[in-house]
Amino acid sequence: MLKNLNSKHIQRFSYKYLPQFPISPNSPKLGFSRSQIANYRSNFPTTIMSSSKTIVLRSSDGETFEVDEAVAVESQTIKHMIEDGCADTSIPLPNVTSKILSKVIEYCKKHVETPNADEKVAEEDLKSFDADFVKVDQSTLFDLILAANYLNIKSLLDLTCQTVADMIKGKTPEEIRKTFNIKNDFTPEEEEEVRRENAWAFE
């Protein structure tokens, strides 16, 4: 059916909304207005939710990314925006730069593509993808944490926070300060007091 559309039809309305319409070039039903489409959508929601739907995301620096809806809804934030009908043109993400957004999209794509089967191979492949994914500099890692938090992608948030946690675990406070460049603003007396209060932790 889509092959019957000529460029005039595609200009007049987004072909994404029409998989079930009985389209022919001579059909009198051409030229749907946005409200007509919305009306159709509310009556037949499932027909519009075809798997080929894409969502456009716009990063804080103006770059746009077109992704499959299935990938975009890995983010609960985006999922709610779509459900609330705020996703007609594109979704602006003022808190995420294009550099970070492209990485997040890469993560979501990989996790959506990998089937949830108990396939050992797929599981290990995903694990090694995750391990490589977080091999970035600290600054990028923290930006990924913030993006995962803002976009509400639990698995990414857990992965990135676990990575930071692994950098803290088992280290002495001096080592932790060095790793993360944390300034010690205690006076020697204050520091001694804190140590004493929590003696067992420092043994």
Partner: protein
Amino acid sequence: MSDTGQTRCVIQDTGHDSDGDISQLPDCILHHILSFIPTKDVVKTAILSKKWNNVWTSVSNLDFDDALLYANEADARDPPDETCFINFVERVLSLRDASNIKNFRLSCRVFFNASCIHSWISSAIMHNVQTLDLCLFVDDSFVLPSSVFRSQTLTSLKLEMNCVLEFPTVIYLPYLKTLHLSLVTFANDGSTQKLFSGCPVLEELTLVDCEWLNLKNITIASSTLKRLTIDDLPYFGPPDGPKDCKIKIYTSNLVYLKYTGYPSNDIFVCDASSLVKAYISVLVPHEKQKEVASHVVNLLKGLSKVAFLNVSDHTIESLVFADNMLVDLPVFMNLTRLDLTMEIRKSTVEALMKFLYCFPNLQSLYFSEGFNHDVCFVDNDLTCSSLPKCISSCLKMLTFKNFDGNDSEICFLKCILRHASVLKKMNILCCESLFGDPNRLNEVKKALQTVSKGSKSCVVMFS
């Protein structure tokens, strides 16, 4: 610290300009990071800087483990001071602010400090804990605070205590979804029954190494239960006396059942109409073979609706002693996949063939350990009529792991290939010794691939 500064929506003290990026993260994220770290390390962060000294006090995960006390070999000779650990926990709990505790885990020995431990657990409950994980090594007895069994916030309770579990008169846990009991001794029928009925939304129940000595009749009835695991292998071997406890299970929404045991208790799965997967692993102690066989048959009777069954260890062996009880075995109409996680021996082959008659719709069969050398199939043994019907009419996939290449295995597989008319795939995973002997491997491959197949589209794969 580049242009990414603008992506952060954090209100931050500009006095800490030289601070690393990490301190700029909002508190809730720092809490999330710290939730992956044991409490001892979390407390260490108190000293990093003034900001961090405030962060750790509202971390919602507390994990206290006195195993860290015994970390050095020196500790074995000269037992360290428990008071240090006790003081630490007391200090952490008192310095903590009033925010809710989400996950509380405590693992320690209970000596003279029973009252302290009691107060810590009460404190966790008062802070609306959601996940409580207690691993207490008890010398004598220890009674949990009764508030544990009335918590309005608990969603997951894990108890590992080597003593009698005493319950208060009222047990009501309206949000408990996961209950995991390990090593506990159940006191009597009445109170144990109260526990199972006091959890109206329970979804997962796991009982590991519990002591059923004092129980005679228990009913586990829950319409919400989805997963049930009973691990009944006492550390010191099978119990001596006759201690059959009858356990009746009414769980209409149960999806997953796993049983490992001797099985000393008689389990009747009276209602498991939604069961999808079942794992049965049984060991057979010497003097009790008939008893065990009858228990296993009883257990299998209740699983007739299952779609996937995994039997391991000596489950099939126990059926050898079942004799005419095998007639009692139900027909598993929904079963499409059977996994046999054990080595098939001469003694079990016959029982196995009889067992296969119970699965008329079997589509996938998996042998994880292959055949033992003592199995002796000869070509004439396995004819079309002696093979269970499911193999010739339904079997689509067969996986044979730990393939040795011995004659009986080859004979068996050849027979399957000849008679399985809808077989699509046969996966043969060779054991290491066969793989290292390419000549024998090729011989075997040839033997199997030149058989006239009952199913034209069948593919035999070696790996």
